[in-house]
Structure formats: structure tokens, C-alpha cells
């Protein structure tokens, strides 16, 4: 069978090296520089060893180098078992394996490892771009496998690449069937390296002065929304995220203490029509799901907490698609009284700082202002004093709220929300911070809305007698544009914002929105094809009550059918190709008739060429070449390569003369 010990030639080595170089290029972004340089120099060294017939390095040399490389990876990544570390380890080990690669067995091992390494890229990105690029090493690896399967003489490079492409194209139908029908088992099967989800951005469970503006400067997409029915107005688009109760100096945190869970759910009364929508949430490695204020429905494996956050059981580590139902007009906790515990939580502040703010609140208290009047007084302060909305606020001192309210007066949503809530609590009005996103950009290409990290927002909720928790957005008091038209119109200095969302960027944003529509489709239908989606597709295909055996049956049936059809096309004789050859050649014969040479039916192409060159000695080179190429195509080994074009060109050249 296979002759594992067969030694292969430089020709085969070149193919292998090119394939590996493409894999390296695919992964370059995720590899430390020294691994890339090391692999490249190992590849080049291996090439020259083969070219100059040098001896391969001995085990005595390779072993310490291998250990050293392993150590290097360990030091670079502080371990060997993370996602990034194992990729780098695989790359450097495969490059070192090259140093002892000489037999067929070694080649096949490297190619198979190469396929595996190529697939590894999807741990880092599954974008359209990366997925398309991964086809390149795939084709080259397959072509290399073809080259080493054809050992008795060197094989034309174009032929092997074309054949590899052809094989892969023919493989697509069965791939699609498997993709759709093959049962998706929900992961994970084993532990996932802790660094697998690094680099995901999103809201955090705390708020401190100056961390949200980093998020706002991030143009990446937080989630996409498809609305069923009427679109809500821009100023109604409050996407509810973490609710922050707990203040510690300049930090606000969610309360994830056990007593938090036992709080009774706040009573929600809704009026008006429900808004239905579907959210496709980008992974952010946190548990909360974003919903429009106020959600009345939690997706599977998620629940609504007492303060109406929608919390998933597991962190969102894959793009997730879920349905949302919300009421834009609502009253939250209107017909309840605040429990003692809630009261304590919603009023607690650290009172050893911010004396001026505390004094102001004390003044309101002694003036016996009602809660509503206190809220209005605060908003009045924001509205009428020279407060400025900016993403680059000055640094705040030891008493941050004082500093902000009375000195700098420059900040963005988190400054306004947190100082407002602080002020309210100091004045005895129960209040809390809600973080989330506000607004969104409608993509006319796909009729959906894009909500970016830059739409991150923070606002306040105050508890008023008989009205319950009422949303107050102090930012709106300062910068109504932020709420009504989105962040890109609220800021005077546009260059603080990510490029994608700057205003007056029309042609680019049109193009971008189109590209985003394509990406959205890719996310929905390719990347988002998980067990739930498969379930719904299968129940559409096979009816509601299908069994596992039905899937197996359909898998076998469809694959067999496709294989039969493929076999039919593979076995169909390519007589057509021969006819096409005759057609091209007939042009030449016609031309000959015109100049008085009648080809006979028994004459071979070579005989004819000799006859023509006797009459037209100047054309000898051309006629000989035509006969040679014709013979090569009809009888020769180069049945399907570049010879076709050559014959056409020669005959055209002959016609011209």
C-alpha cells in the first residue's frame, strides 16, 4: 500500500513549505514575533538543506532546541495550555518537525497537522474575511497531498492546484448537507482555556468615573436588533443592562450579595402595545442580556431579576439570538411600598466625602421639598448651569461628586448619572443607576438596527411615591441631542469618536452599512447556526415531531443521492472536450483550404504539417508547433492544461499570416 519510507524530493518540499507559509500567514496576527521568525527561518533552512543535499540536523541538536522552544512558549504566555499558547506551540513544533521530514510518512503527518492548524484559526475569528482566507492554505495543502500521491514523476503545478480546487468544489454539496443536518451537540465537552474569551468588550458590572468613555470610543457592535412592527422613537430606545445599587467612593457596583436574590420582583404595570424584537447579541462574556425598557419576557435559560435585568444562566460567549418583548409605557413598582431593605439599599451612600453635595442635599431636605421637586431641582441645576457633555472630562479630585457638580462641570453620561443618584440619595430620594445602551443606528440594507459599544449609556431611576421607579436621564438635561439623535451628534469634537460613527461620513457609512448587512447575514445563518436554529430548520423540513432516526435517515439519503449525482458527472465521458479540440483544429484546416492545401482524412497532423512547410517554408516553425500541440492535446499527457490556449493562439497567429 503506502510506502511510508519513500523519500521525497525538493519539488515536494517546496509545495509543503508554501502551504505551511500560508498557514503561518493566516495565524500571524495571533503569534508572537519570535515564533513567526523562528518558523520562517526553520523553513528556509530546511529548503537549503534539501537543495544543497546537506545532512539533516541530528536528534542531539533538535532535542534541546525543541525543549528550548517549549520553554520560550511557556515564558511568553505564562503557561502552555491556553488558546494562544497551544497555537504557538503547535506552530513551532510543526516547524521543528520539518527538520526531520524526509519520508512520505513525515510529509503526510505534516499535511494532516496542517489541516488541523488551519482550522485552529476559527478559535480566534470566524469572520467572512478570515474564513475566506483559510481556503487558501486548504487548497495548497490539498495540492501538496496530490503532489505526493503522484510520486513517479513531478506533476505540473497548475494541474495539481486546479485538481485540488476541483476536489474541494465537488466536496461542497455534502459539506452543506452535513452542516445543516449533522446533529449539533451543545458544548463544551471539556474545560475551555481561560484566555479563550479575552478581548470581548461590553458593559461591566461596575461603573467608575472614566471607564465608560473607553467603551464609548469603541466602534464595535454590541448587538443588532430586528423590530417586528413599528420602530420605537430614538429617545425611547433605552437598552437595559446592569442595575447598580451599591456605591463605594467613586465606584458603583451591582449588588451580587445573596440577599439580593431574595428581593421580591418589582411590580410592573404596562400600558399600550408590546414591542416585539429579535436581538443578536455579540458575545461579551457576561451574563446579562440587553432588553428594551421594560422587558416582560425572558428567553430560554435566562430570567428577569427583581430590578428587571435579564440575566442568562451562563456568560454569553457565543453570538446569541433571542426574542424580546417589552413595553415602552410602564410603571414599575407604582402600587407597592419600598421594602425596608430596598429602602436602605437605595439610599445608602458614603457620607465622609463630597461635603458640598451633602450640604446642598441637606438644604433641600430642610426646605421640605417633595421628591419630585428635588429631582427637578437637580435637573434644573444641570440644565441651567454651564454643564458640558464631553468624552474627555478633566480628572476629578478627592471629592469627585463635589468636584464635578461645582467645579469642572464637564463629563458624560456616567458623571451625570452617578452624581445625580448620589445627590438624590443624599437628599433622601431612593435612587439607582441603570447602565445599558441608548439609541441605535438603522441599517436600511437589512432593515435592522445596529447598536454599538459607543452607544453605551448610564441613566438613573428614582423611586417616587405612587409612581414607583421612574427613569430620569440627567444627560438629556445637559445634552438633549445625545438622546434624540445619538452620540455622534452630541459631541462637538467628532474625532473623539470611532471612525465608523462620526457624522458627515456618508459615502463611507453607506458602504459600511452594506458590508454590515452582509456580516449580519453571515452571523445569522452561518455562525449563528446552533442547536436551536437547527431545531427550527429541521422542524420546518421534517415536520414538528421528527425523531433522531429521521435525521439519520435524511443524512444518509441526501448524501447518497449527492454521491450518486457526483459519480454520474465524474463518469460521464469527456468526449465533448475532444469535439472542442476538433472545432479549434478545424479553423486551421479551413485556413489551409483557403490557401490551397486540402487536408486528407488519412493524414496525421504531423504529416500535414510537413506538407504545409514544404509549400510554405517560412511557416515551418508555426505549423510544426501546431501539430505538436494538437498531438499533445489529443494523445499526450497534457490533456487538460495550458495547451488549449496555446493551440488557439498558434492558430490565430497562423490565420493572421
Amino acid at each position: 500500500m503506502s510506502h511510508a519510507q519513500t523519500k521525497l524530493s525538493l519539488h515536494h518540499l517546496q509545495w509543503l513549505l508554501v502551504s505551511l507559509a500560508l498557514i503561518l500567514l493566516l495565524h500571524a496576527e495571533h503569534l508572537p514575533l519570535w515564533v513567526i521568525l523562528g518558523s520562517v527561518s526553520l523553513g528556509i533552512t530546511r529548503f537549503f538543506i534539501e537543495k544543497n543535499h546537506w545532512r539533516l540536523p541530528k536528534m542531539l541538536l533538535l532535542l534541546p532546541v525543541t525543549l528550548l522552544a517549549g520553554l520560550g512558549i511557556g515564558l511568553t504566555f505564562h503557561g502552555l495550555f491556553g488558546r494562544d499558547a497551544s497555537l504557538a506551540l503547535l506552530v513551532i513544533m510543526l516547524s521543528l518537525k520539518l527538520m526531520e521530514t524526509k519520508t512520505l510518512r513525515d510529509y503526510v503527518l505534516i499535511i494532516i497537522a496542517g489541516y488541523f492548524l488551519t482550522a485552529n484559526v476559527f478559535l480566534f475569528s470566524q469572520s467572512i474575511l478570515i474564513s475566506s482566507f483559510s481556503i487558501l492554505p486548504l487548497v495548497f495543502l490539498t495540492a501538496t497531498l496530490i503532489q505526493i500521491s503522484y510520486r513517479h514523476s513531478p506533476l505540473d503545478w497548475q494541474f495539481s492546484l486546479k485538481l485540488a480546487g476541483k476536489l474541494l468544489l465537488q466536496a461542497i454539496p455534502v459539506m452543506l448537507i452535513l452542516f445543516i443536518l449533522f446533529p449539533r451537540i451543545p458544548g463544551p465537552l471539556w474545560g475551555i482555556p481561560s484566555d479563550s474569551y479575552s478581548g470581548m468588550t461590553g458593559l461591566s458590572d461596575s461603573l467608575s468615573f472614566g471607564n465608560l468613555n473607553q467603551l464609548i470610543k469603541n466602534g464595535s457592535i454590541a448587538f443588532r436588533v430586528e423590530f417586528k412592527g413599528k420602530l420605537p422613537q430614538q429617545q425611547q430606545l433605552y437598552w437595559r443592562g446592569p442595575v447598580l445599587w451599591h456605591q463605594e467612593g467613586r465606584h458603583w457596583r451591582m449588588r451580587n450579595l445573596p440577599e439580593n436574590n431574595s428581593l421580591p420582583i418589582e411590580n410592573l404595570t404596562t400600558t399600550g402595545e408590546a414591542t416585539h424584537y429579535i436581538i443578536t447579541l455579540e458575545p461579551h462574556n457576561r451574563t446579562w442580556l440587553l432588553m428594551l425598557d421594560m422587558p416582560t419576557y425572558a428567553p430560554q435559560d435566562a430570567k428577569i431579576s427583581h430590578d428587571y435585568q435579564v440575566i442568562s444562566q451562563t456568560p454569553v460567549r457565543n453570538r446569541m439570538r433571542f426574542e424580546g418583548v417589552s413595553y415602552l409605557q410602564y410603571q414599575l413598582g407604582a402600587h407597592q411600598t419600598l421594602s425596608a431593605r430596598e429602602q436602605t439599599m437605595a439610599l445608602k451612600i458614603e457620607t465622609n466625602e463630597n461635603p458640598r453635595t451633602l450640604a446642598l442635599a441637606q438644604l433641600w431636605q430642610t426646605s421640605k421639598l417633595s421628591a419630585v421637586e428635588k429631582v427637578n431641582a437637580a435637573l434644573h441645576k444641570f440644565r441651567n448651569e454651564p454643564f458640558i457633555y464631553t468624552l474627555s472630562p478633566p480628572i476629578l479630585g478627592d471629592n469627585p461628586v463635589d468636584d464635578f457638580l461645582f467645579n469642572t462641570k464637564k463629563g458624560f453620561c456616567e458623571h451625570y448619572a452617578s452624581s445625580f443618584v448620589y445627590l438624590m440619595r443624599a437628599a433622601g430620594v431612593p435612587a439607582r443607576i441603570v447602565t445599558g445602551y441608548q439609541g441605535g443606528e438603522l441599517n436600511p440594507n437589512g432593515n435592522y438596527m445596529i447598536v454599538r459599544q459607543s452607544d453605551a449609556h448610564a441613566w438613573a431611576e428614582v423611586w417616587l411615591q405612587n409612581q414607583g421607579w421612574v427613569r430620569v436621564d440627567p444627560t438629556a438635561a445637559v445634552s438633549p441631542d445625545r438622546i434624540e439623535q445619538g452620540i455622534s451628534n452630541a459631541l462637538p469634537e467628532a474625532d473623539e469618536l470611532p471612525f465608523m460613527i462620526r457624522p458627515n461620513n456618508t459615502w463611507f457609512s453607506t458602504l459600511y452599512l452594506q458590508w454590515d448587512a452582509v456580516n449580519n447575514g453571515w452571523n445569522q445563518w452561518v455562525l449563528g447556526y446552533n442547536e436551536q436554529k437547527q431545531l427550527s430548520v429541521l422542524s420546518q423540513l421534517l415536520g414538528k415531531h421528527y425523531r433522531t432516526s429521521d435525521i439519520v435517515f435524511w443524512l444518509i439519503a441526501t448524501i447518497s443521492t449527492v454521491m450518486l449525482i457526483t459519480t454520474y458527472f465524474l463518469l460521464r465521458t469527456t468526449r465533448k472536450k475532444q469535439d472542442a479540440l476538433q472545432k479549434i483544429y478545424d479553423l486551421y484546416l479551413k485556413k489551409l483550404k483557403k490557401i490551397g492545401i486540402t487536408p486528407s482524412t488519412t493524414e496525421t497532423a504531423t504529416e500535414l504539417a510537413t506538407r504545409v512547410s514544404l509549400l510554405h517554408p517560412t511557416q515551418q516553425r508555426l505549423t510544426d508547433e501546431i501539430a505538436e500541440t494538437y498531438n499533445a492535446l489529443r494523445f499526450g499527457k497534457h490533456y487538460e492544461s495550458q495547451y488549449w490556449d496555446k493551440l488557439k493562439r498558434l492558430i490565430q497567429e497562423f490565420s493572421r499570416k
Binding site: S2, V108, A119, F122, L167, P173, T573, T574
Partner: protein, 343 residues
């Protein structure tokens, strides 16, 4: 080539030799149809499968949609490669051409042709003989060295020369031929068996010891007899070259010429007197030799006489061959010796 007597199926034939469907080529070409072609994954194919499982497990673990797509594409690629490997062998027409007789120990060259009729080039088709009991004992990878691999261009006929190790003289049935291919991806091995239904002739080993001379030489041409035992470059006149033939000893080959790339040429020497000799089975009885050694000795005499262009006849227990000379006669004699009954 004549057919040897049918070997009686008295011996126990193992089932694995009966079960496979084998294409039969006798006077007509054998076509490898879909019922004749077998296919199994190679060890690389199995390794590839292990890799696919690893990729599938990774895709499940990390819920990677593109990982699934990639795994399925590679799985489907193997499936397509299987069809291509199978198709590469399908509908090839195998025909026996000839088997050139050789002496025991030399490789018998079985010449056959494979014709492509479906207008598509077949790549890397290997023809080999698997059966070789002796080699199994010595555990040498003989089939590897004896295999020939060729392409068969679309709509053409390609000649294959497959070597076969020889161990005993006589007329032997050409063993079952295996045609196989792993093209294009080496993940699958497709093969087909062909019975060529022809025999090949193996001449006896010529005796290397030339001390024993036929007694009949004594009264026909004594001087010559001495010459044959001594160096050929001696008193004889060099008369020219002829192409190498099986059975020529290395001494007779003009190595200088072959090193210049002229191919193997055998030096020929003019005989002094092309007189008549009768080689007789009875003559060999004087030399205390066993049965096979006697045959070998006769073979040596025939070869030497042919080289000297003498006229010679052969008297064997089963009949006599009238004296003559020339290639035809030479081979008739060798064949008669090859077909001597076994002791």
C-alpha cells in the same frame, strides 16, 4: 504462449483467493468494472479520520460554526477523493501482451497493456504481482520493487512491464495481477485483481560449473571444447556484437560499450568449426550430479553451443530434438529442458 496443463485443484485453496472478484483477461482484454474494484482507506486515510474527529470535538467544545463547516468540508473532501480514486481505475482495459522467457532467478517481465477508453487520463496506476511465497519467508518488500507505476493518457494504450520473481524452471501460470492506485489524495487505496490467464516460461538455471563437458565433443571438436572452458578472449576471433540476451554471462558483455550508453552488448566470437554436437541426457549421468543439476548442465551446454553458433541436437528421455542452430532452435531446446519432468 501455450497453456500449461491445468493444475488440479487438489490443494486446499484459501477463501481469500476465491472470494475476490477477478477480471479475466485471456485472448480478450479484461475490463475493470465497478464489481471488480475494491477500495479501503490507507493508513493516512485513517489518520485523516482521527484528525477529523479531533476537529469535530473542538468545534463542539467551542461551538465554532466555521469549525463545523471546515470539518465537514474536509470529511466531504475525503469522500470525493474516494470517488476519484475509484474512478481512476474504473473501466481500464487490461490485456496480456507477452512474457519473455527467463532463466531461474531472473525477473520474468510480464508485458501487458492498459487501454483507456473513457477520454480521461488515469494517473499513477500501479501494476504488481503480489504472490511470491519465497519472499514472504525472507520478508523482503519485493512487491514494492517489482511494481511499475504509469499514467494512462486519455484514449490511449499504455504498456506496463511488471516483473515477477522466478524460483523454479518450467511453465508457470502468471499469478494474479494487482492493479492499484491511491491518486489523488493517498487517503484511499483502490485495487483490482486480474487473471491474465497466460503462462510464463522459466528456463533452468545454467550450471555455473563448466568443468563437465559433453563426451560427444571429444570426437567432434576437442580443441573447441577446451576453448569454451577457458577465457573467451583467448584464441577465438572476436566477430562482433549482438544485443544482450537473457542467459548471457557477465563475462561476455561489453561493459565498456554499455558505460558509453550503448546498452548491453554481448561480444560474439567466431567459432573455429561449427561442427555438430549431440547433447544427451545420458552423457550427464557420468558426473555424479543430481537430477536438477543434470538439467542445468545441459542448459549450460546449449547456451555455450549457441554462442559459438554451433549446430547441436538434444537427446532427452522424452524425445530428441534434431540438430540445428539459430534463435528458434535455441529456445526450443531451452524450453524442452525447462519442461523436463520433475524428479
Amino acid at each position: 504462449m501455450q497453456t500449461a496443463e491445468k493444475i488440479k485443484p487438489s490443494k486446499f485453496t484459501p477463501f481469500w483467493k476465491i472470494w475476490p472478484r477477478v477480471s479475466q483477461a485471456s485472448t480478450q482484454a479484461a475490463t475493470l468494472n465497478s464489481r471488480n474494484i475494491y477500495i479501503i482507506p490507507t493508513r493516512w486515510g485513517l489518520l485523516y479520520m482521527v484528525m477529523l474527529f479531533a476537529m469535530l470535538a473542538g468545534s463542539i467544545n467551542y461551538t465554532l460554526s466555521m469549525g463545523f463547516a471546515f470539518t465537514f468540508l474536509l470529511a466531504s473532501l475525503a469522500n470525493i477523493a474516494m470517488l476519484h480514486t475509484w474512478r481512476n481505475l474504473l473501466h481500464c482495459q487490461v490485456q496480456f501482451l507477452k512474457a519473455v522467457p527467463v532463466f531461474v532467478g531472473q525477473n520474468a517481465m510480464i508485458e501487458l497493456t492498459i487501454t483507456e477508453t473513457k477520454y480521461r487520463t488515469r494517473y499513477a496506476i500501479t501494476a504488481k504481482f503480489k504472490a511470491n511465497e519465497l519472499d514472504k519467508k525472507s520478508k523482503q518488500p519485493t512487491s514494492m520493487h517489482l511494481a511499475t507505476t504509469e499514467d494512462i493518457t486519455a484514449a490511449t494504450t499504455q504498456a506496463f512491464h511488471s516483473a515477477l520473481k522466478t524460483q523454479t524452471r518450467g511453465l508457470h501460470r502468471i499469478p494474479r495481477l494487482t492493479l492499484c492506485t491511491e491518486f489523488p489524495l493517498s487517503l484511499f487505496y483502490a485495487w483490482s485483481y486480474v487473471d491474465l490467464n497466460h503462462d510464463y516460461l522459466v528456463y533452468p538455471t545454467p550450471a555455473s560449473n563448466t568443468d563437465f563437458q559433453p563426451s560427444s565433443i571429444a570426437f567432434s571438436s576437442q580443441s573447441n571444447a577446451e576453448n569454451t572452458t577457458t577465457n573467451h578472449q583467448g584464441d577465438e576471433d572476436f566477430s562482433g556484437h549482438r544485443p544482450y540476451q537473457l542467459g548471457d554471462t557477465p563475462k561476455q558483455i561489453n561493459w565498456k560499450a554499455s558505460s558509453r550508453g550503448l546498452g548491453l552488448l554481448t561480444k560474439q566470437y567466431e567459432s573455429f568449426s561449427p561442427s555438430l554436437i549431440h547433447f544427451s541426457w545420458a552423457d550427464t549421468a557420468h558426473f555424479n550430479l543430481n537430477y536438477e543439476q543434470r538439467i542445468s548442465l545441459l542448459t549450460r551446454w546449449v547456451i555455450d553451443a549457441n554462442q559459438r553458433k554451433q549446430r547441436y541436437g538434444l537427446n532427452l528421455p522424452r524425445g530428441n530434438i534434431a540438430p540445428s542452430n539459430g534463435e528458434m532452435h535455441y529456445h526450443t531446446c531451452l524450453k524442452a529442458l525447462a519442461l523436463m519432468e520433475t524428479a
